[in-house]
């Protein structure tokens, strides 16, 4: 008897038909409800592209201008829609160009299925033209990967790929398909995967752990919540809001948790970590119970672990058992999908308001406002500040936009100052900090949420890492709004050089091209703001424009991002200037 290592759902229509491996790939995608995929053709994946041509009325293939762009676009799509993003590439260089996006998706838990073509199976291991061991290369950066060498394997492997990518803690999966497997035929009969025996997507909820956690929360005098993307991935935003409101506990977010709770919610106390808000960082080291929800204590969040929340009992709600006690010891670990664990916890926690404790956050906010925020937003300083631009975008989009940010100072400005009223609105490269992420991710985000305004906020450095995706925008007419905050520097690195390397600006100053002309070369409507007086009208014109739009804003060259927890310092040693 064959050993059953995975379970599959019954098919609705039990009619199998003979198709090629390449056609099977497309049929699998359709069965999984995929409407849009991002990719780039080449020799080893040509049979699949030939089928894409035949199925073009059913599945929309977006030709990005670089395979990295395809992965980031698929990520943007997945992040806003909650669906699995799909990217496709040929073997060799096509496959290796996917690597950055896959690594980014792995560290930020984004569900992706990447499909790569591979040389014929008889050539494997012969250093054939465009043969690269992409399965070997992608092993440490994928949740799962597999090389298909026989056409019959395709339906089951792709079904597993989707199941693994989206279940439990999501992540990227790569399926490499040899060219002969694409040409060969098989009896096609698709069954969605519903379980894999060696993989537990959702750990069972232990009610005893929940009770203990509830007790700790109920007896806390100075509790604080830090929430991460787990709240969004678990679809637990509403529940989380109820939890926060019932317990009255101040809630701070990690960069990936941002937008799970509206920015202006009275219990939202801002961001934790390196460039987070003053209050939550200082009070991390004063709270008596720290409730971590769907977050993983990244070092950018914790600063020096030896001085991180040592006085607090830690409650950790987490889906991935490997995250428990990885960086911070959890006195009360609560394993499970937060949607389930929060629900169970909700019934046991007592209503509270923690008024005085909450006032501490308010006081510290006042300090931060005086020293940092009011300066960032000050309209009387000479040059435009990044925060002013974000503020203007907030006004024009009424907090309803998806903000896609790249990596650097502008990213911190975008996260700190954006006003979010809806979940899945903040798309940024958190764990990997991938410059070049935002432009392609914005394309995917707009396609994943076409009814929403999507604004990409990018630095002049990161923009030039994937600037070729303007071609994708031109070709697809996807109406994304692109804002470049141009400070003429690799700003974040320059800031570190200023603060920690005695202003030795090694290779951080950039001679930039005429960005407006470049956008216009792609027939994208474009404008430039060089002075504060032009900002209001320019942002309004951009948002009002029906179609893609490019706006370059010249900002202060040597502005620094504060507050800041210097590397190696404790979060409560956060500096304001």
């Amino acid at each position: 008897m064959e050993v059953k290592t995975a379970s599959f759902e019954k098919t609705s229509a039990d009619t199998s038909m003979t198709v090629s491996g390449a056609e099977a790939v497309i049929k699998c995608l359709l069965e999984e409800g995929v409407e849009t995929i991002y990719g780039y053709p080449g020799g080893a994946i040509m049979p699949v592209y030939d089928e894409l041509y035949k199925y073009q009325d059913k599945i929309h293939h977006v030709l990005t201008r670089h395979e990295q762009g395809a992965t980031h676009a698929a990520q943007g799509y997945a992040r806003v829609s909650g669906k699995v993003g799909v990217a496709m590439a040929t073997s060799g260089p096509g496959a290796t160009n996917l690597v950055t996006g896959i690594a980014d998706a792995q560290i930020d838990s984004t569900p992706l299925v990447c499909i790569t073509g591979q040389v014929g199976s008889h050539l494997l291991g012969s250093d054939a033209f465009q043969e690269t061991d992409i399965v070997g290369i992608s092993t440490p950066i994928t949740k799962w990967n597999y090389q298909v060498t026989r056409a019959e394997e395709i339906p089951e492997v792709i079904a597993k790929a989707f199941y693994i990518a989206k279940s439990g803690r999501p992540g990227p999966v790569l399926v490499d398909i040899t060219k002969d497997a694409q040409f060969a035929s098989l009896e096609f009969n698709y069954k969605k995967c519903s379980g894999i025996r060696s993989y537990k997507a959702n750990p069972e909820v232990d009610l005893i752990q929940i009770e203990k956690a509830a007790e700790a929360i109920n007896s806390a005098k100075k509790p604080m919540i830090v929430f991460g993307q787990g709240v969004i991935l678990g679809g637990a935003e509403e529940l989380f809001k109820e939890f926060v409101e019932k317990t009255g506990i101040p809630a701070a977010w990690t960069i990936l948790g941002l937008s799970a709770l509206p920015t202006k919610h009275p219990l939202n106390v801002g961001m934790v970590g390196m460039h987070g808000n003053y209050g939550p960082n200082i009070l991390t080291n004063e709270c008596d119970v720290l409730i971590a929800i769907g977050m993983r204590f990244d070092d950018r969040v914790t600063g020096n672990l030896d001085h991180y929340a040592k006085q607090a009992k830690v409650v950790h709600l987490e889906i991935d058992p490997a995250e428990i006690n990885k960086n911070v010891y959890a006195d009360f670990p609560v394993l499970g999908n937060v949607k389930e664990t929060l629900k169970a916890l909700m019934e046991l926690v007592k209503p509270n308001s923690h008024k005085e404790w909450h006032n501490r956050f308010k006081e510290l906010y006042k300090t931060e406002y005086k020293k940092v925020i009011s300066r960032n937003l000050d309209v009387n300083k000479q040059d435009l500040g990044m925060a002013e631009v974000i503020q203007e975008i907030n006004i024009n989009t009424e907090g309803k936009a998806v903000i896609v940010s790249d990596v650097g100072q502008h990213q911190m400005a975008a996260c700190r100052y954006s006003d979010f009223t809806q979940t899945r609105s903040n798309v940024t490269s958190g764990g990997l900090g991938t410059m070049g992420f935002a432009l392609p991710a914005a394309i995917g985000a707009k396609m994943g949420a076409p009814e929403r305004e999507v604004v990409a906020v990018i630095g002049d450095g990161g923009y030039q890492m994937t600037i070729q995706e303007l071609g994708t925008i031109f070709q697809t007419k996807v109406p994304v709004k692109i804002v470049i905050l141009n400070n003429g520097f690799l700003g974040m690195v320059r800031q570190w050089q200023q603060l920690f390397f005695d202003r030795r600006y090694a290779s951080t100053e950039m001679t930039n091209p005429d960005f407006v002309t470049i956008a216009k070369g792609y027939h994208i409507e474009a404008n430039r703001v060089t002075d504060r007086t032009q900002l209001k009208d320019a942002v309004k014109a951009m948002i009002d424009h029906d179609g893609p739009y490019f706006l370059e804003v010249k900002v202060e060259q040597e502005e620094n991002v504060f507050p800041m927890v210097p590397t190696g310092a404790s979060v409560s040693d956060i500096i304001l200037e």
């Binding site: 050993v3 059953k4 290592t5 379970s7 092993t139 025996r197 060696s198 490997a322």
Partner: protein, 179 residues
């Protein structure tokens, strides 16, 4: 925390890429693998890796967490030496001339429960199965006689306590209706 020898037992599906996935978990943390073996386990179609490393208990807990996270890993366990029954096998190749001349060696081999597996006019091959340190001791004894070759297997081990793999697999079969 003090570093100790830990034996990690990993039950997995029989998947091609799994060895490099597991090895990468150690590599990434600069942890030297002292010994590694892979073989079919007591459960049909299930593989078992046995990896010996010297780390702290805190490290091994995290490593096992990362290993279990791999999709095709059914379950991973870690044990200290005291919780295991383990053996290694080694082969020692020695010049016949040296060997025949010295009666001490022959006596020693007998005393340590080693075995002569091959005798040729040019060389002898001795086999020893036992604990790591026993294999080491014989190595030290034979070294002065001019070892032509020496090779040792990885550690193979069974635990004193049960590792409930069959239960885990059965649970999957009963909760997922076969289709």
């Amino acid at each position: 925390m003090e570093k100790k020898n830990f034996t990690v037992s990993i039950y997995t599906e029989n998947n091609l890429g799994l060895l490099s996935r597991i090895a990468a978990i150690f590599l990434k943390r600069h942890i030297n693998i002292e010994s590694i073996t892979a073989s079919p386990s007591e459960v049909p179609e299930v593989m078992r890796f046995i990896i010996v490393v010297e780390v702290t208990e805190e490290q091994i807990k995290k490593i096992v967490g990362q290993i279990e996270k791999q999709i095709e890993v059914i379950k991973a366990f870690y044990h200290t030496a005291e919780e295991m029954i383990y053996q290694e096998t080694a082969l020692y190749k020695i010049k016949s001339s040296e060997f025949l001349d010295d009666l001490n060696v022959q006596a020693f081999i007998k005393a340590t429960n080693a075995r002569i597996v091959t005798v040729t006019p040019k060389f002898f091959v001795i086999e020893k199965t036992g604990k790591r340190n026993e294999v080491d001791e014989l190595y030290e004894t034979l070294k002065p006689y001019g070892l032509m070759q020496f090779v040792r297997s990885g550690t193979i081990a069974v635990t004193k306590n049960e590792m409930p793999i069959t239960g885990i697999l059965e649970k999957f079969n009963t909760t997922n209706s076969i289709s």
